[in-house]
C-alpha cells in the first residue's frame, strides 16, 4: 500500500530538472508521476519512479540531494466530484495532507498523497470510494 517517493533538491537553475530526467533515462528508470514544489531559491522534485533504490543511488552519485518518503497512491474515477468524496473521508477523520499531486488518463485518475500520518490515512482510504495502488502496478 505504501509507495516510496523520491524527492530531489534542485536549485532554481535552468536545465536542472532536465538533468535529473536524463540521468534516470540513461539508467532505464521510468518516472510514473512527478511534481515540483518550489520557492524563490530552490525546488523539490517529487517523483514516483520504477526503481526507487536505483534512482536514489544514481542521483546521489551525480551529487543530488535526495530523500525517500513513503506516500500513498490511489486511483478513483475520473469524474467530477470523485476526488472530493475521497478527501471528505480524510478530512472527517482529521487526516492532514502535507501535499498531493495527481494525473488522469481516460476513465481513471491517480492521486499521490503525502499525509502527516500515513498509516491512519491508508486505513481510512480503504473505506473510501477509491483503490489504493500497490507498488507492482506502478512499476509497469
Amino acid at each position: 500500500m505504501k509507495i516510496k517517493q523520491l524527492s530531489v533538491f534542485v536549485e532554481n537553475k535552468t536545465g536542472r530538472i532536465n538533468e535529473v530526467a536524463q540521468i534516470l533515462g540513461r539508467h532505464g528508470i521510468n518516472m510514473t508521476a512527478f511534481s515540483l514544489a518550489d520557492n524563490a531559491d530552490f525546488g523539490i522534485l517529487r517523483m514516483i519512479v520504477s526503481d526507487v533504490e536505483r534512482a536514489e543511488q544514481v542521483l546521489r552519485e551525480a551529487h543530488f540531494g535526495v530523500s525517500v518518503t513513503e506516500v500513498v497512491c490511489l486511483s478513483c474515477a475520473n469524474v467530477p466530484g470523485a476526488l472530493s468524496e475521497v478527501l471528505d473521508g480524510l478530512a472527517k477523520e482529521q487526516v492532514f495532507i502535507e501535499y498531493m499531486y495527481a494525473f488522469s488518463e481516460g476513465d481513471t485518475a491517480r492521486v499521490v498523497i503525502r499525509p502527516t500520518d500515513l498509516d491512519r490515512c491508508i486505513e481510512i482510504l480503504q473505506h473510501c470510494p477509491c483503490c489504493l495502488i500497490s507498488k507492482s502496478i506502478l512499476k509497469q
Binding site: S7, A37, D38, N39, F42, F64, G65
Partner: protein, 433 residues
C-alpha cells in the same frame, strides 16, 4: 575651527617629547597595574625605565584582539573597578566579546577629542546633531553623543533603525548634522528622497561617517544625494571609540589625536615598523588611557601615515583611508564579522556540510551577506517547509552570533568548491576604491 590649537598644532618636536613622556608614564602604569603587560615585558626583559622616548616603543610588546579575549572581561584593566565608570563591548566576535572600561577621566578625554573632530568638520554650538549610530554597548552612539554635548551643540540621541522616524525628526527638529555609518547614510538619503519632502526643507549640512570602510565614490554619492559635506571619523572600541582620527576641511587623510594615541605602521608579516608613506598595519598605543590602556594594539586595519603638515594648520600625523584588513575580518553594516564565526556555527549543526561560501555585496547601498551552505545527506526533505525550517534555524543562530541578519541560500551537494589548501570562502563584491 581648531578646537585645541595647543595640542593640534604643536610642533613635531614638542609632540614627540610629549608623547615620550606620556609613553614612559603609561608603561609604568601598565607594568605595575596590569599583570598581563608586566609578564610580557619581563619575558622581553624590558622595564619601564627602558622606555624614555617614542623611539623606544619598538621594545614594547604588541597587543591583539585575541589578548583582549583571553583576558575577558577585565583582565587588561589597569585600575580597580571602583574607578571604572562605564563599560563598552565590541560587536560580535568568536567566543567572548571584547570589553573596554573607562574611567571618568577617560570619558572626559574621549568627549574632548570627539569635540575636536566635530570642530574640524566645521560644526559648533549652533548645530543640531542626529546621532544615528547605535546606542548601547557599541561605542559609536554614546561616543558621538558626549562629543556633541562637549562641543556645546544639541544632540538628538536617535540611535539606529526606524528610518521613517529618523527622517521625520531630521526634518521637524531641523537637524544640521548627522552621524551614522556611510552605508546607512546612503540608504537614508534614498529614503529621504522617496518621502517627496523637498530637500530644501531639511537643514542638514554636515555628515559624520565612520565605523566601516568607505570610498571617495561613496562620499560623492552621499554628498550629492543628501546635500551634506561628508567627513570621515575613525575609531575603534578597543582604543577608545570614534574620534581617534578625523578629517578636516581639506579631506586629505584623517588627523590622529596624537597627544592621546601614538600611531605606528608595521608590516603585518614581520611586525617591523615601516616608515611614513608605506602601507601596513596600523598600531596604536593609548598614551593617556587609564581604564584599559593598550600597548601597541594591532588594529588589523591597513593604511599609511604621513607627517606632512596639513593645509588646515594641524601638525598631527594623518592616516590614509583604510584600504583593507590584515586578517579576514569583514565589516558588514558597521559590524565586525569573521568568517570563522560563521564557520563555527555551521560546524556545530549536523544538518549542514562544513562547506560554505560567503558573498558580501552592497545592495541598494546597504551591505548584504549571503551564506551558501549545503544540506547534509539525510537531512533533505520532500517538504519545502522542512527545508525552510532548516534554513531558518541556521539564520537564527547566525544572527545571534553575528548580530546581523544573513541571507541563507541552500545549495546542491558539492556545488561549493572543495579544496585541499586555502579554500576561497569569501567573495566580497563591494568595491572600495
Amino acid at each position: 575651527m581648531i578646537w585645541n590649537p595647543t595640542k593640534e598644532c604643536m610642533s613635531r618636536e614638542d609632540m614627540r617629547r610629549l608623547q615620550g613622556e606620556r609613553l614612559h608614564k603609561l608603561v609604568e602604569r601598565v607594568y605595575h597595574n596590569t599583570p598581563f603587560y608586566r609578564r610580557k615585558m619581563q619575558e622581553m626583559d624590558v622595564t619601564p625605565d627602558d622606555i624614555r622616548s617614542v623611539d623606544d616603543i619598538v621594545r614594547l610588546p604588541f597587543t591583539t584582539k585575541q589578548d583582549l579575549r583571553d583576558n575577558y572581561p577585565y583582565g587588561l584593566f589597569a585600575v580597580p573597578m571602583s574607578q571604572i565608570v562605564r563599560l563598552h563591548a565590541s560587536s560580535g566576535t568568536t567566543g567572548s566579546p571584547t570589553v573596554v572600561g573607562y574611567t571618568r577621566r577617560d570619558l572626559a578625554i574621549w568627549a574632548e577629542m570627539t569635540a575636536r573632530c566635530l570642530s574640524a568638520f566645521g560644526t559648533d554650538c549652533n548645530d543640531i546633531f542626529s546621532v544615528a549610530y547605535g546606542y548601547g554597548l557599541f561605542t559609536g552612539g554614546l561616543g558621538l553623543h558626549y562629543g556633541v554635548e562637549y562641543l556645546g551643540a544639541t544632540v538628538i540621541p536617535m540611535s539606529s533603525g526606524n528610518t521613517a522616524k529618523q527622517i521625520k525628526l531630521l526634518h521637524d527638529f531641523g537637524a544640521t548634522a548627522i552621524a551614522c555609518t556611510p552605508s546607512y547614510a546612503l540608504y537614508l538619503a534614498e529614503a529621504m528622497a522617496k518621502t517627496g519632502i523637498p530637500r530644501e526643507e531639511f537643514r542638514l549640512k554636515t555628515g559624520i561617517f565612520g565605523a566601516e570602510p568607505w570610498t571617495e565614490n561613496m562620499r560623492r554619492e552621499i554628498e550629492h544625494k543628501m546635500g551634506v559635506n561628508a567627513y570621515n571619523i575613525y575609531g575603534l572600541s578597543e582604543v577608545m571609540g570614534p574620534g581617534v582620527s578625523h578629517e578636516c576641511e581639506y579631506k586629505d587623510g584623517s588627523h590622529i589625536i596624537e597627544d592621546h594615541f601614538l600611531p605606528e605602521i608595521i608590516s603585518p608579516e614581520t611586525l617591523e615598523p615601516l616608515p611614513y608613506g608605506e602601507q601596513g598595519e596600523l598600531v596604536f598605543t593609548t598614551l593617556t588611557k587609564e581604564g584599559m590602556p593598550l600597548l601597541r594594539y594591532r588594529t588589523k586595519d591597513l593604511c599609511s601615515l604621513t607627517d606632512e603638515p596639513c593645509r588646515c594648520g594641524r601638525t598631527n600625523v594623518r592616516m590614509s583611508r583604510i584600504v583593507g584588513r590584515s586578517d579576514d575580518m569583514l565589516i558588514i553594516r558597521g559590524v565586525n564579522v569573521f568568517p570563522s564565526q560563521i564557520e563555527s556555527v555551521i560546524l556545530e549543526m549536523e544538518e549542514f556540510e562544513p562547506h560554505y561560501l560567503l558573498i558580501v555585496d552592497r545592495v541598494q547601498n546597504l551591505d548584504s551577506l549571503e551564506v551558501r551552505v549545503e544540506v547534509r545527506d539525510g537531512f533533505y526533505s520532500d517538504e519545502i517547509s522542512k527545508m525552510l525550517a532548516l534554513r531558518q534555524k541556521l539564520s537564527a543562530r547566525l544572527q545571534s552570533v553575528l548580530g546581523i541578519k544573513a541571507d541563507i541560500k541552500l545549495v546542491e551537494p558539492y556545488s561549493i568548491e572543495r579544496s585541499e589548501g586555502k579554500a576561497k570562502r569569501v567573495i566580497d563584491k563591494r568595491v572600495l576604491q
